[in-house]
Amino acid sequence: MKLNNTHHAAIGALLACTTAVPSAALADDLNVILFSMPYTQGLDQLEADFEEKTGHTVNIDVVGQDVFESRITLSFTGQTGDLDVVHTPVIQVQRWIEAGWLQPITAAVDAMDTKDDILSGPLDAYLVNGERWALPFFAETGMMAYRTDLLADAGYDQAPENWAEMLEASAALKANDQAALAMRVAPGQGFNMFVYPMIMRAYGGTFFADYPTDLTPNMNTAEGLEALDVYASLMNDFGPEGIGNFNFGEVAAAMQSGQVAMIVDGTSIVAQALDPDASQFADQISIAAVPTGPNGRSPAIAVHGLGVPADAPNAEASFAFIEWATSEDVLTKIALMEAYPDFTRASVAQNAEVIAKYESIHPEFLNLKVQMLGDAIGHYRPLLPQWPQMGATIGENINAAVNGIMTYEEALETSDQDIADIMAE
């Protein structure tokens, strides 16, 4: 059959219909992009709850962090308006604000009835230039997990209180042919740069001369050098084989399988070590505060939240999703569904079922976590738009020092130079 103009017109009309109909049907859909972690995996399963509660339909896309970075960068720079809600790590928020990628949600947050229930530290982490840019769903801090039996064998009836004691205890454990401590060493602003500042700040080291007023690079100091020496000694002299490439997965696995006596990491990793379903030695593992140093204690902190992209077409619907996703009801459900997520509402911490669940891994877990969150400083990692780039670069230098590719002095000197270069750009 030969196609005439009428046939062409009919085919064209049919194609137009088949493409236009789904678009019209999806016009009020919310597109949410998150990267994978216990909370986001739990939220993904509650899609239907949101649809039932609000009438909006939602597509929650949970992807790997690398895919997430590429996808949002393309969406934001292309101003495609295809995303309604975006996973917003606090470490990125300054950069995104400066780039104009987020829209403030101050009025909507202030109008919330349950705003006071949100932990103030994580909530205020998103308060930049007087505006609120996201609502937190996750606030992780640092904590130590240790094997009571192995430390007892080495002559210790409690966890080391400070980093100097940690070195002594590690030496005693090594004498018993036991790898002592595992921490993240893999390079990355969210990898070794999540844990290393706990030691650096405890010894009085800083990234800048006087943050935020004087941003002169300040890593190459006597305090910084001592901290790096302690970190590298703990890892190289007393850590397990291959520690120089350990990330949080390897740290958790080493503790769960009994290959190390202690870990210092985020609360989510410590919870995995205490979880009897995942850890072979859960009943012999206890928890303690992050060790102190001459300059005090500085637990790590990481906050994640949900924000509204600047080009989101329906900001009101976007915020409705955020309010629901960070509500007491949803956070409680996820706290009970998923392993041990780091929720951000006081009411969730008071829920009897949640308390029972966390007490089952350790009676002091929730209390210690609150204490560590209280000790953590908001600018543990500097809240600067340049930090993601800076943190990655410093992480490479610190990793090179631990693995013997640079001397400690070279690593700190190079870090100062890299910070200066990045700030000058």
Partner: protein, 295 residues
Amino acid sequence: MQSYQGVQPVFQKNYNKMLYPAVFAVGVFAIVPLLGMFALSLTDFHLIKSWDREFGLANFIRLTQDRRFISSISVMLMLSVFGVIFQVVLGTLIAVGLEKIVPRWRFLRGIFVVPFVVPAVAVALIWLSLFTPTLSPINAFFDIFGITVPAFLTTEYGAIGAIVIADTWASYPFVMLLILAALQGISSDLDEAASIDGATKMQIFWRITLPLLKPALLMVALFRFIETLKHFPLIFVMTNGGPGRSTQATNYYAYIQTFQSSNVSYGAAIAVFLFVFAAVISFYVAKANARLTDA
């Protein structure tokens, strides 16, 4: 116009138009993005900062002075050269083994192809666990005998070696399949004639099979070389570019510049360098291949 017997009249008349979809697809999905990348590399587009829309060669001048970029090229070449050598040697040996030496084992081809269908991220995770002493069954096995296997991923050359091994495991089946196809194109009469003349199997391999495989080997090496220039998932998952910056190959460095440092134009300039580098290599390999084929 030439007439084609048995073809519908509508296509006889407009057969040139059948190319249009392909030309359109290549234009939209290959040429336009490529031109966009070239144009971007001449600007100073930064994700965060404003864009003054001036064009120039500043990014390429910066490349010549960027020590991290220059060091990334040597990492890339080490990964590519050693990777291609191991993949071609292993793939060829298995192909020749299955086709010529023990043809009754041809049924194993399916098993040898398995690594090729494993996604790159899964390959990286498998080898990350094998090279992590606390997770590795290899280390656990040698521990029984009191032998400590070194931690490859914590030393500069060890980490590069680990990535080469992972890439070889994942990619040798590609070489094997192409060489198997090439071997099946070589007439068995040649082997038989040589055999009648008293040549041994080794002599047949070195003097007949291998010379006839040269064009195929050259092309497969080129394909693999270009692929290895694009190393990303193995580095990202296995080493994060570490220890230090030891495994930051050029492609990975382009990612760092684009997505971590927000220097989109500089990242594009690095990508242009990779494109030109691959094009030059391809040109010379194609020339060499043409000489071999003519000979």
